[in-house]
Amino acid sequence: MERKELGLVFFPAFDWAISQTHPERQERLLYTRDQLLEEGVLDLPQIREYRPGMAEWADLERVHIGVPGLESLVKDAHRVAAGGAIEAGKAVCSGETARAFALVRPPGHHAMRVVHGTRGFCTVNMEAIMIEHLRRHHGIGRVAIVDTDVHHGDGTQDIYYHDPDTLFISFHQDGRTLYPGSGFVEEQGGPAAFGTTFNIPLPVGTGDAGLHRVLDELVLPVLADFKPDLIINSAGQDNHYSDPLANMSVTAQGYGRLAEKLRADVAVLEGGYSIEGALPYVNLGILLAMAGLDYSRVIEPDRERCPAQSADVTAYIEKLIQERRQTWRERENLKRREIARWGDEWQRRRSVYYDDSGIEEEQRETARLCHHCYGWQGIDTSSRGSFGRKSAYAAIIPRNACKRCLQEAQDAVWSAKQAGRHQYYYIQNRQTDCLERIGGKK
């Protein structure tokens, strides 16, 4: 079969909504569908369309630990969106297409490793599910994720916080002014993976100019240093000037040029809720750019409404770029210092709020530092919601776990079980690719 430039998984889930008036509703990709059909792009010889499959539960559990289980939290729509991302990844890994775009919904980049419910419209993480599927079945090693959604991809960051093989770069509207309120420069990964979480919080009003400075001077050089096997773009479109949920000034041209420069292997749609004014144009621009076609004529009818980027914003971004470049250059030193600071075990406590489900979660997370492997992590989690309380203890065993870490992680779960302070106990063993449920009461 002849290799195509772009594989497209277009799945607008026209029969699914979080709720009738929620931004994640049937209508979200309707106007995008109309634009793509009208342009005739699906008939172009550069593009091959793929149908998503249903992601297997094993694909989901390779990434997530649902409390009490994913079955009660995950709908068919989530499995199809994840299946769409996997299909896109497979098209690229099999060599059928040079690149792929999973234009699917619902999104997933706010979904963390432990799942108690839905937050930021996300229940499971599409990119992580795809990446881990490709690692397991297609021999992919190093991966870089570039999250270009206006919101910080806190879910993806959480999943890869201790994985030095996965570089997570996110630029987003500063967490001090936007959901989910994270993604600061200080968040750089656990000691074993220090530096492979790389946040670029941008000021309100950032436009095409600022975004492309960040891309040219920060994102692309960092990617070049990291040398990933695969670049994944979490392609949120809410940096657009017309987006109702954020305050940036990026245009369809800005997004098209971003896609052209980034040359992501796989892009997966994340957010973007200006469904009439932005999505038809931004999606088309990204799609054309990824297919190597001319996107220069993709211009919103109301582009004169896009505010110019202010001089203050430009100056702020310049300074931010300098600081971030500096940090990146010194990453090896900083990592050594971080390892020295924590000794055997890193730990943190935090609260996670599930806005769509009204759930509050408290987490205590530990990461074992080990010279022989990436170390295992323990997560002590409890949540409160309409269901009352749920709590669980989970250990995560890395792909390359050494004997000692494997034993320690298992011991930790068994002793937690004996202490009996939780309802559910899990071992997510990435070596055997299985999620074990240990005892646990119903």
Binding site: F10, A13, F14, Y31, Q35, E39, G40, L284, E300
Partner: protein, 549 residues
Amino acid sequence: MLLGIDVGGTFTDAVAVADGRVLETVKVPTTHDDLLVGILAALDHIVSRCPRQISRVALSTTWVTNAVVEGKLDPVELLVMAGPGLNLSGLLPVTPRFLTGYVDHRGIQVQAPDDGELQQRIPKTADSVYAVSGKFSVRNPDAEQQLNAWLKEHRQAEHVTLGGKLSGSLNFLRRTNGAYFNAAVWRRFKDFEAAINQALAARDIIAPLVILKADGGTMPLTAAGEMPVEAIFTGPAASVMGIQALTDCRGTMVSLDVGGTTTDLALWQDGQPLLAAGGAFVERYPTAVRAFQLLSVGVGGDSEVRLAGEEVVVGPLRRGPAMANGGTVPTLSDAMIVLEEASFGSRKLAEAAMDQLALPGLTVREKAETVLQAAARQVVVAIRQMLLREETKPVYRVAEITQPVILDLQGVIGVGGAAAPIAKRAAALLGAACVLPEHGEVANAIGAAVSRPTLEINLRADTVAGRYSVGELGLEAALPVGVRTVAAVTDFAKQLLCQRATELKMEQGESEVVSLESFPVVKGFNRSGWIYQCRMQLTPGVLMRLEEA
């Protein structure tokens, strides 16, 4: 009595049918210099044998296909209002003029055509044939219509094809290509139309003349005069319609029309042949011309048979006729003749053809069987591919993924000169039934004779804006009071369709909803209305089924 005439590459076939029976058939050579000569010869033959009242003459002709393939196309000024989006340069059959003016996806005219620009940019050429296409013109036809009026007034345009009139479906690229080809064959087809009208009048035939379209439906000759491109690829379409008249094809079926060099496959579900998504490809350009979904395999009676290593390969090349008929290389027909599944030419030469295949240890008959099995296997690969493509076509709803349609092939239908030996073996390989309708050899002409008219409209109703549009009808207007629910929208679409059918003087049959979508529209945090998209058509099919004799 219904008359059907099918102009094929080699023969022009005609049939007369009435009361579910074939009254008369004739085959005359196709007259390539002037198709009309052969058409009239066939017509005269039938009329002289069946002196009954003719209620309809239906013509399926390669006229348009030939004009395109032979490049007999008039120069066309292609005017495009593309608005923002894909750069069409290099994607269209001719270099278009890009003009100001566009409509957005909601049907709002963001920019109107500019008279000053038109004066300046559209030359006063001798070509008075134009094709005009605007993005989202199916949501708002104003810009295309303004340009049409301007061309008629200021450039004395003889003909303007509007993309939006060709199809009410979204796909600007396909409508633009289709509009171009339509304009390019318009003038010559007009001449053909005049000639045939004259010839019928000379014979005192007053029955309406209809032309077969690529989607197997008919349209009145006058309508064809305005949209001749729809009469492209009618050969395979006629054959498909013939199958529908001759067989009762329930469930999932595949039909094989085995010709001299190719086998055309069509896929059937519940008695209906499936249409190609988006429309037909003309040359290498996707168009919005409604057409059946066909797959052509290079296996036919005249296909060369050769060995690739130990394996027998049939086609895709033709190197002259069967050896039985004086050809120089073994062909599929030679194998059929050896096994007495075809009877023409010299049997001795056919045996010699099979004998020269280096298949050690096999008798001549065994060699012939090996050849037919190989041909059937090649066809089966294509059938499987067609089924798979249908099963995995893109879908947009979760339920279509969780409950996918699995096609369970029930039968293989064979029509055309050399169909039976291939269809029989392919069906056996697939574990399906084999159906070989009688009169299969003139299925094309029968199909033309009995096809119903087809007509489709695409209604989009937006209750928030209180507007609706129907591309095919060039309509964009206020949504009538009361049209706010799925049921009311469906009724409204049906009413518009029937009106249109009456205007076109089409035989009225049933109408049906092809697809219906409804989307709740939310503004702020409240439901503010609905967007409905309803595709409605006259139920395609045949005016009568022919009984098994």
